[in-house]
């Protein structure tokens, strides 16, 4: 049986602990008494994923079995999560491919001709044909690309439809093809408790008009955390939108959960607890680290980006989104949740090389901020790991690099907007509209492979709760120029960071280190 997650208390018997630091990693000796939050051991993957998928499709929750929903002459739209899930991308065959193939087998058997496949990429960049092919598999790609396998276009107004308004006045504007279908099948991977469920359709197929109701500073400040849907204002908005969508179209949601096999066997030490490293793990640590440091920056990035996770699928569930999702969340918690007693003065996070928005790309400073203060800070239930007014210490070099094709609006956001203000409310009220409606950004989003013009704002809002909560943010090994631009501090070493933090948390603060990835979510009591 897999071991549950646990909280280590650093003592003199604790070996140096691993920290991710962008496209690299290091060992760090934490002060005695520090708490280290480890995830549960990776759960065993399903032995036969195909059987599990078939069982889920034939025994869905709250809806008829999929074959009964299919009939000749119907309009079927299959939507799937885009490249932002999972992280790192999983080794092929992707579980989405397996699910889609099962769905299409059933559709073919029932004589459904009108089938469209849409990547639910929302305001993310379009997926390239190669990326689409990797997710859906060769057979599906050949059968449907390019006419019937495509990316969602949130700026193609002819292919958007306003399906209604929630009781709170939130406009629900979504992909027309999906909303005018007889059945939408959504194929999801729930990597963290944030994704899946009502979020899938209401975000993945939405336009800016619709997204702005939940992707804003107010909801994100009141999402505590956004990985805990019951306490997330953002998820409450998704729920309201889901009801409007449910009145309009039938959504059959298939959700898969993954285990914590995040790194391939060549880097297996990254999946293990340090005191359990054997000689081979230590040799690999030294070897991989050395080679990684000696590689030119481009090759290093290519190497990391080509890493595919040997994830095992822990469960596949299907049904109506509101009923299937609680089961999915329970499975995510089974893999990621660790109970922690009490908050600490300082929280330490080692930020890895990847976040949802730099797959096959570059993690620019805004994305580092969103990964640290957004995703990692919000890996909690009940209360944040660090107390209000405490300090967050992140390990990341925060290089001032941007991908000019993928993140053009980020460059302007960093150079022109952050120099004006770093206050999310000011950014939202003063600059968001301008970036969201800029025709050049819209053109790049639609025709090139750029994230939408408004996307860097959302990334900043992602950290709004942390910015409000924290007294100090320090990046160990961070570039001084980029961190200063974002209003943070840089330190060379952990000792320096703690010295800087001593002004806000004193000279002997309590420290918690969230040992991720593999992903762990702290249930702070």
């Amino acid at each position: 049986m897999s071991r549950p997650g646990f909280v280590l208390e650093v003592d003199e018997r604790t070996p140096p602990l691993l920290m991710h630091q962008g496209e690299g990693f290091r060992l760090e000796r934490l002060p005695l008494g520090s708490k280290v939050i480890y995830p549960p051991d990776s759960l065993p993957g399903l032995r036969n994923v195909d059987t599990a998928i078939a069982r889920a499709l034939l025994n869905p929750i709250g809806i008829e079995p999929l074959p009964e929903l299919l009939r000749p002459g119907m309009r079927l739209t299959v939507v799937f999560d885009d490249i932002s899930l999972p992280l790192p991308p999983m080794q092929t065959p992707d579980v989405r491919q397996r699910v889609i193939e099962h769905v299409l087998e059933m559709a073919a058997a029932k004589g459904v001709d009108d089938v469209e496949l849409i990547a639910g990429n929302s305001l993310h960049r379009r997926m390239t044909p190669a990326e689409l092919k990797r997710v859906v598999g060769d057979r599906v790609f050949r059968s449907f690309f390019p006419d019937h396998l495509r990316n969602h276009d949130a700026e193609d107004h002819s292919n958007l439809v306003e399906v209604g308004t929630t009781a709170q006045g939130e406009v629900v504007e979504l992909n027309r093809r999906a909303m005018e279908s007889d059945l939408v099948v959504y194929v999801n991977i729930t990597l963290t408790a944030m994704s899946g469920g009502p979020k899938s359709v209401s975000v993945g197929l939405a336009s800016y008009r619709s997204l702005r109701h939940h992707h804003n500073v107010h909801t994100l400040r009141h999402s505590r955390s956004f990985n805990d849907p019951a306490n997330s204002a953002m998820h409450h908005s998704y729920e309201r939108m889901k009801d409007v969508i449910g009145d309009h179209v039938t959504v059959f949601q298939i959700e898969a959960t993954l285990n914590n096999d995040t790194f391939p066997s060549s880097m297996g030490f990254l999946n293990k607890r340090e005191w359990e490293w054997n000689l081979a793990d230590q040799g690999r640590y030294l070897g991989v680290k050395r080679v990684n440091e000696l590689l030119p920056a481009k090759s290093r990035r290519r190497l990391w980006q080509s890493t595919a996770a040997p994830y095992g699928v822990t469960a596949v569930n299907a049904g109506v989104p509101s009923e299937v999702h609680p089961q999915t969340i329970a499975n995510v918690h089974r893999q990621q949740l660790t109970e922690v007693r009490g908050q600490s003065d300082v929280a330490i996070f080692g930020l890895p090389y990847i976040c949802p928005y730099n797959v096959n790309s570059i993690m620019n400073p805004i994305l580092v901020m969103s990964l640290g203060l957004g995703y990692f800070f919000n890996l909690y239930k009940n209360r944040p790991i660090v107390r209000e007014g405490g300090t967050a210490i992140f390990y990341h070099p925060v290089p001032g690099e941007f991908h000019p094709v993928h993140h053009p609006s980020y460059i302007d956001f960093f150079d022109e907007v952050l120099t004006e203000s770093i206050d999310p409310v000011v950014l939202e009220t003063k600059f968001e509209e301008q970036f969201a409606t800029d025709p050049w950004y819209i053109q790049l989003y639609r025709k090139s492979y750029a994230y939408h013009g408004v996307h860097p704002f959302y990334m900043w809002y992602w950290g709004a709760h942390a910015l409000e909560h924290l007294g100090e943010v320090i990046f160990v090994g961070g570039n001084r120029r980029t961190t200063a631009r974002m209003g943070f501090k840089a330190a060379s070493t952990l000792a320096d960071a703690l010295e800087i933090a001593s002004h806000t948390v004193g000279s002997s603060p309590s420290i918690s280190y969230l040992h991720a990835p593999p992903l762990v979510m702290a249930d702070v009591r």
Binding site: F6, E9, R13, R273, W275, E276
Partner: protein
């Protein structure tokens, strides 16, 4: 960071095998290492037997005999013994196995397999490989913590002699402890003879905690007894008692002499070993005191004078 500093940081708190100490708070979550049986079949191949025989005669015996002064008695009882047999001995030192395998006649020594504690000799691969090569060792599960399929039956079926230490572990104080029933059960079920062997002086020469004999070539008595054949209808408990009596008597010959020990046994004056938990007999210090009494036989440590 320089590679040397990196290695130093990585090695911090780890032993030469790269094993780290486990943080106290992680103790409840320590996972027992994947239990794989160390392969031993290779040690029973013809080339391995030849190599082991050469190592025994060229290295093990000369080194043991150079560091201790073994007195071997009773080998003549083995002359008429044919077929596989189980040698059982009291166990108080790591010297016991080298002394027995090096003092046995070659026809037994070349076809001998030694039962070794799975949790001690087979926990590290280097130690396991050396033990298997030198002693044709096979793992014996002592604590029943996992169900290791014992090779003993298979080895007897294949005609191998076994050397087993039925106490299960080295004595803490040099005195013999009660035998565990497994060896007797094995001999009764397979109908194989048991050869009792008593070692005296091994504890004084190299007790627990030492990895080399004490200086001065201490005397060690290795005494073989007449083979005990399980008799028709005999249960393993009876055979176990006979084994303990035989080894106790052989050990007592050190003080009482051969005939004196026989007489003492006949008069029921020999005290059979008990489990340490059962107490009885002498106090702990007296047992150690007795076990470490220097032998008055022989020259002892040579002292050079000018």
């Amino acid at each position: 960071m320089k590679i040397r500093d990196e290695v130093r940081l990585l090695r911090h708190g780890r032993d030469w095998r790269g094993r780290s100490t486990v943080p106290r708070s992680a103790d409840p979550w320590v996972q027992s290492e994947e239990e794989r049986d160390f392969p031993t079949a290779w040690a029973r191949t013809r080339p391995a037997v030849v190599v082991r025989s050469a190592l025994r005669r060229g290295l093990l015996r000369p080194v043991t005999w150079s560091q201790t002064r073994p007195v071997v008695e009773g080998v003549e009882y083995l002359e008429n013994l044919h077929g596989p047999a189980v040698f059982v001995a009291n166990h108080s030192s790591h010297l016991d196995a080298p002394l027995i395998v090096s003092s046995l006649p070659r026809r037994f020594a070349d076809r001998l397999a030694v039962g070794a504690a799975a949790d001690y000799f087979f926990d590290a691969r280097v130690r396991a490989a050396a033990t298997v090569l030198f002693f044709n060792a096979f793992p014996v599960e002592r604590h029943g913590s996992r169900r290791l399929r014992s090779l003993a039956v298979e080895l007897l079926d294949d005609g191998w002699n076994l050397l087993l230490f039925p106490e299960g572990t080295r004595s803490e104080d040099g005195w013999m402890n009660a035998f565990k029933p497994g060896t007797a059960q094995l001999c009764v079920s397979k109908g194989v003879p048991v050869v009792p062997v008593a070692l005296r002086g091994a504890y004084a020469a190299m007790p627990r905690g030492r990895n080399w004999p004490v200086p001065g070539r201490p005397r060690i008595a290795v005494r073989y007894g007449r083979p005990l054949h399980p008799v028709e209808g005999e249960g393993f408990r009876e055979l176990r008692t006979r084994m303990m009596q035989a080894v106790t008597r052989l050990a007592a010959e050190e003080e009482l002499g051969w005939y004196g020990a026989l007489r003492a046994e006949a008069d029921n004056e020999l005290e059979l070993p008990t489990r340490p938990s059962e107490g009885g007999g002498a106090a702990g210090w007296r047992r150690i005191w007795d076990s470490t009494r220097p032998s008055d036989d022989g020259p002892g440590r040579r002292v050079w004078t000018w």
